[in-house]
């Protein structure tokens, strides 16, 4: 065994990474199939059913797109923070705060026309979400407090605050005492696209996705953020120091998650209620990582993971598979991809041998 050693590749695998990724997904599906068998469910048929009902039935694509919208926005936000290696686990809380901000605006100024009200709601959601991202960032730059913990705790606090509002001051008098706000006036609802069940939130996703892709690829600040991955503390832009960048990315991150909350409250539920919380903030982390923080790939990955959730319901309905199966698959995919990433960056070969994909200029020194 000592004849073989692990070497870092001269260049990370390019298209090979794609293969590795697919391999990882395949392994995950295999293990999940095994788990299905343990519970006595047909493994092969189950996995097939999952894929088919997620993507290959006529209404599945629409379902997946609807579900992908909040996942996409939260993931985009999370990915921006991850670029600076700021581990924003707080998308759930930022999402809740955004929903709260939008609701406040909708309930207080519901008499205004939609042309004014909707942008105002977006602004309110952006501010509250950004604040919820700003706080942990502030603690991090001033006190070096671990942002993982602070954002996580703020998740719980944000959700409890939402609970307090819908059980208390914002409860709809006509709701028979159930925790929900009044229904949003039509001016406050982000409408449907034509006769489909999709809403204009999809447009928001496309616009923000493209905007940030351009930002990271073509602006200096974006380049600075991208390049700072390995050595974040060396990141500087003009005269903005590292701490300023941290505050900026966390606020942007919170803003995007806040917009996801707004869209769910306005377009999907037409009111604020506790069941708006659906774990998108955590799925967002998985998506952001799998997409290697690339906005366009995030779009695809959001769609795929939304598909996972949709397909899971059919598995429940047709095969009585427990709901927790989806989480296992999500976690497995992430783990296998992480492990698989090893093969893109390293290779195992005989001690002293030439690299497998050697370029002429990479002659090994004895």
């Amino acid at each position: 065994m000592t004849r073989f050693r692990v070497y870092k590749r001269q260049e990370p695998l390019g298209w090979g990474s794609c293969l590795v990724f697919l391999g990882a997904v395949a392994v995950s599906l295999l293990v999940s199939g095994l788990l299905l068998s343990i519970q006595g469910k047909p493994a092969f048929r189950g996995i097939l059913l999952l894929i088919q009902s997620a993507f290959f039935s006529s209404w599945a694509v629409e379902d997946c797109l609807i579900k992908a919208v909040p996942i996409f926005l939260c993931s985009l936000g999370v990915s921006i923070a991850f670029r600076l290696q700021i581990w924003n686990i707080g998308a759930e809380g930022q999402y809740a705060m955004g929903a709260i901000g939008a609701t406040w605006m909708a309930l207080k100024f519901g008499h205004l026309p939609g042309l004014i009200l909707l942008p105002a709601m977006f602004m309110a959601a952006a501010i509250l979400g950004a604040v919820w991202g700003f706080i942990p960032a502030l603690f991090k730059v001033r006190l070096r407090a671990n942002e993982i913990i602070v954002t996580l705790m703020l998740n719980y606090i944000g959700i409890l605050f939402l609970d307090y509002l819908v059980y208390g001051p914002w409860k709809d008098p006509a709701s028979f005492g159930f925790p929900m706000t009044k229904e949003f006036p039509p001016a406050a609802v982000v409408g449907a696209i034509g006769t489909t069940r999709l809403n204009w939130g999809l447009l928001v996703c496309i616009v923000t996705g493209v905007a940030f892709w351009i930002f990271f690829k073509y602006t200096r600040l974006g380049f600075e953020l991208r390049a700072s991955g390995e050595n974040p503390r060396a990141a500087r832009y003009a005269r903005i120091p590292y701490s300023g960048l941290v505050l900026l990315v966390m606020s942007l991150s919170g803003m995007l998650a806040g917009w996801a909350g707004l869209l769910e409250a306005s377009a999907s539920l037409n009111r604020l209620q506790p069941s708006i919380m659906a774990g998108y903030g955590y799925t967002a982390i998985v998506v952001a990582w799998l997409s290697q923080l690339n906005p366009l790939v995030i779009g695809i990955a959001s769609f795929l993971l939304a598909g996972l959730r949709v397909g899971l319901e059919t598995l429940q309905l047709d095969l009585q598979v427990p709901a927790a199966f989806g989480a296992i698959l999500e976690g497995l995919i992430l783990l296998t991809v992480l492990a698989g990433g090893f093969f893109s960056r390293y290779e195992i070969r005989r001690r002293g041998a030439a690299p497998a994909l050697a370029r002429p200029q990479d002659k090994q020194h004895p």
Binding site: L160, G177, E313
Partner: protein
Amino acid sequence: MKKLILVMAALLLAVPGAIAAEKEMKVGFVYVSPIGDAGWSYAHDQARLALEAMDGVSTSYVEAVQEGPDSERVMLNMARKGYDVIFATSFGYMDPMLKVAKQFPKVTFMHCSGFKLAPNMGNYFGRMYQARYLSGMVAGAMTRSNTLGYVAAFPIPEVIRGINAFALGAQSVNPKVRVRVVWTKTWYDPATEKEAAKSLLDVGADVIAQHQDSPGPQEAAEEKGVYSIGYNTDMSAFAPKAHLTAPIWNWAPFYKEVVDQVRKGTWKSQSTWSGIKEGIVDLAPFGPMVPKAVQDKVLAKKKELVGGKDDLFSGPIKDQSGKIQVAAGKTASDSELLGMKYFVQGVVGTLQ
């Protein structure tokens, strides 16, 4: 010859009728929590299994469905797959169900615990408060400290109503009792619920009741050597020495009735709120520690309810601040009960 033709025609017409009467029914259930919680969804699922045992009925379910767009999608899928009857068992499914019902007029939709109707959508609930009142009578009779503890999940009307009924029942046999309420903000988290129960025990409660789906509070009572009242199902297995009784659900007869009606074409959209009389709610068997005199008293009251006399919320009823909510000589109406937002006097706790 004419007679033969007539007879044959009659037979031919009868055959499709006979086949139609035996139509295979697909019934779907949407649950808000996992079914194994020995609680709310579990009770519905037990009834679903009873339906499954019926001839020509196949059932399925999706559990842990979030209220909102997820539930809409689940119900849409069921309707698209040709389900004939869909039961949705949580208040928050109401609006999504209405949306789907409008798109599938041939499917029958039944919503539990809500208030909206449509030509093909009805709603239903059970007068659990009747059983709670009876359990309150037992608790009131068995307590020595005159403090009853109530571990409650969320401040929604049915929970508040249940607490009030429990308190009124206890006060009817023991006017000095106080009911202390602790909110856990969860339906099934045994560790949290047990901690909440312990906090009530520490302030002197010697009977623990619950509106929770796990037996956590029962364990706490058993460990301390005091009494407890279960919920949803008979929880005596978890607390044999403590468990006095439990208000329980029994959805099977109602579900069977609905499926039969749909099958025969006699189903009508309406709001059904049945109680002990119809068998939807009941009281679990008494534990061995309940004296016969108490049992008799409670069973006598139950007999009244079975007979249709429901005067549990008759005035004068005062709320915590002393204000009269139900005047003397009057009985609270159904809509007053459904939207109950106050605690009766004798209950100690917030409404948030």
